[in-house]
Amino acid sequence: MAEQDIELTGWRKWFAGIGDQGVFFGRFLRNIFAGGFEWSEFVRQCYEIGYRSVMLVGITSFIMGAVLILQLRPSLASFGQEGMLPKTLTVSLIREIGPVITALICAGKIASSIGAELGSMKVTEQIDAMEVSGANPVQYLVVTRIIAATLMIPLLSLIGDVIGLFGGFLAININDHVSGVLYFHKCLASIDFTDFLPAFVKTIFFGLAIGFVGCYKGYNSNRGTESVGLAANSAVVTASLWIFVIDAIAVQITSILFYH
């Protein structure tokens, strides 16, 4: 029964942190199937995470699409391949840049906001109040946020991809005159299922990482106002790192499965 608080340092602390995250993830998984899913809070989180991020993701993707075309043009023009611009943009946007940029933006916006919100709830004893009342704070706060992020990030990524193509269309028409029908026909003709599916699947993992890291950092923040800022900051940094790690693994798996 007796559980002493042991102060760990160095790599022991790092391993303890990994173990702690594993336990927290286990609690999250157990509570998904524990019954009494918090539908109203889940819908609210989908609105907060999804709908309220559309504008930011949309603007960023639009600019990204336009910038990519402007950057690609001189390179492709040097060997007379301006006609390849829609294809190059679509493949790079759908396969890699769209999902990663959307995920990084969401790591900054959503992971930090979840981390700060739960961290603040921890500091003001709201999470303890839920726990001592006999309610289940993991089910109400953690499960809803992680699942909402896991579902909303792929949707945001899809929206970002489409808006990015519109940005590219605008940029192409700065120098040339290309009809919308021709441009989008070329875009769609240049990708197939093997471009879209792996990218979509990895955005699900990006969403899971963003939701999980935000919740873990906030839920386990220390007491004191400083820890709220630390939780938010640490959530962004860790979630961004996870996005690159997941991306690297996803690209390897995709190469083995589809491009060999």
Binding site: M1, A2, E3, Q4, D5, E7, G36, E117, M121, T124, E125, Q126, D128, A129, M130, E131, V132, S133, G134, A135, N136, Y140
Partner: protein
Amino acid sequence: MEEVKELKKKTSEKKAEVVIVIKGLKKSFGKKEVLKNINLEVHKGENVVILGKSGEGKSVTIQCIVGLLIPDAGSLKVLGEEVTEMTEKELKEMRTRIGFLFQGAALYDSMTVRENLEFPLTRVLKIKDQHEIDQRIDEVLEGVGLKDAIDKWPSDLSGGMRKRIGLARTLIVKPEIMLYDEPTTGLDPITSREISELIMNMQKRYKTTSIIITHDMECARITADRMVIMNDGEYIAEGSYKELEKSADKLVRSFFNETI
């Protein structure tokens, strides 16, 4: 006549019923021994005030009672059950019988007052009948004198109002035991007195057993049936307000002279 004797006997037995028994409770944080050897019995319907300097670990005792903290050693029986040996499910069930008023009231700031009050009813007691929910909310809000605040947000409430709503939220589930963590801290003397009187009124109305952690002597005077004074991780004195006021012990007297 025999019946009257029997009734009196039953009443005295009832009065003597012990609901909280703490024996040899110890708790350390790192190298700091916060609770060294805590022994306490709380009888049904009794108001026990724990008095002590800030940072003495008064709150740690009640956090151990609800299982928020795990003691290092000792026995802790609440409503006849050993808390230190409870499973997660048993702990959750026990918590539904205990109310905990946090120092800062710990209102859920993303919910209105109505939603704050609905939360334990729908999540803990699983009440689905909206009529019963409304009736209970009206009853507790009337009790704390804040019927008009029902649709307000916690951020719109003053410190005293937050405490009242916090009290209403804990009382709405009709707990058998109430634990108050510094209920008057941060309030002006008039509001402090109002909150102390409210605690007494609510105790009479809901017939709860209470432990009140405080260093506010006025609150202790109004609410205490019995007081224990804590110093250096141990209870050093016990008695009624009047008894302790006349104590020869220098430290005990210093609380009454308000020199600490």
